[in-house]
Symmetry: C2
Subunit: 209 residues, 2 copies
């Protein structure tokens, strides 16, 4: 089967989607969205993950990455199990599109401390997915999939800070971005307010996370 940590940023915090289990085992406990492979429908495990997220949340996520496989006889009370873990990124302006189906209650928990006891080994899975995401961003990958289509450099910086849970130096951050080909200035578009207007950017076509 597949399990997915769906991340987004809200109120300056990196959050993960949790579902309250409607059936035994662990009924009532919160868990990562997950589902089983359907070989007659899915042409790959990636497609399984995408389909499961579509079914459970109604959204088609822009980014889905496999983290690892977890396996063993003790993960699930029903016996030996194998699960492919994914993380997915949802732009912060699309949180409202997420709507549960199949009578499962949804909630967004803080990624690094969801504040609920999770079912099975899902707390461990969440930690693994979070580590994988952090490593990428630590290595200078830009998490543009967590932002709206057009965004300011400050928004991008805040998003990185939410993922890393530490402050990032503004000057060094922008210096690095200047030579990053995945970022494109949107000509003449600004965010205005009671301050100096901020330039808008978008992901370039060759951007890859």
């Amino acid at each position: 089967m597949v399990d997915i940590a769906l991340f987004t940023v809200h109120e300056g915090e990196l959050r993960a989607l949790l579902l309250q289990r409607a059936n035994a085992p662990e009924k009532g406990r919160w868990a990562l969205p997950g589902g089983i492979l359907k070989p007659d429908i899915d042409r790959s495990l990636d497609e399984t993950a995408r389909r499961v997220l579509r079914d459970k949340t109604g959204v088609d996520v822009p980014l889905l990455k496999q983290v690892t496989c977890v396996s063993g006889p003790d993960r699930d009370p029903r016996g030996w199990s194998l699960s492919s873990l994914y993380y997915a990124l949802l732009p912060s302006d699309q949180i409202h599109l997420v709507a549960g189906r199949k009578a499962e209650t949804l909630a967004w928990g803080r990624a690094s401390a969801p504040g609920r006891r999770l079912a099975f080994d899902h707390r461990h899975l969440l930690d693994l997915a979070l580590s994988a995401l952090r490593s990428k961003v630590e290595l200078a990958a830009l998490p543009l999939h967590l932002l709206p289509a057009r965004f300011t450099l400050t928004q991008l910086q805040k998003t990185c800070e939410a993922i890393l849970e530490r402050p990032v130096d503004k000057s060094a951050f922008r210096r690095r971005l200047k030579s990053d080909p995945s970022l494109v200035e949107v000509e003449g578009e600004f965010v205005r307010g009671v301050q100096r207007p901020a330039q808008l950017f978008r992901a370039s076509p060759e951007f890859e996370f």
Copy 2:
């Protein structure tokens, strides 16, 4: 199932173990060692990989890492398949311990260009495993599992060069190693020859790849 790229360094070259398939499909073609999960024996996929290598080569490898899962209906002519890909590292002084069983012929191929057409998508799998290994070494991880228990810094450098397939600067390399806690000087032990003796090192207990 699991497939494993077993790497070692021989004659300054990074090599991968290949087995000639004894049965259909793709009988006679070279392939990475692989096998199927046995839930009654294996307590995890990692154990499956370890057991498969033991069965097919007779050696118990010191390092085994999962790279990714590959899946889909077209990987194997027999239909939808799922495989967890691993790489394993074998110390260069243990190559002679590898002995095939079950009437399969063994061979060591150059990791970056095995020189034979491989079965199924195994050429792709080998490339994936090689990339994963290279990334680690590129990020300053020391591939000590490819070396004998005691080794010189020159041996370590040559091993890195074999993996990366590019020269590495001696001075910068050693400068970096000076502050690396995974390396421990073996007191008073040297390799001698018609030249200045070389200090021997070993992996420290807290070394992790």
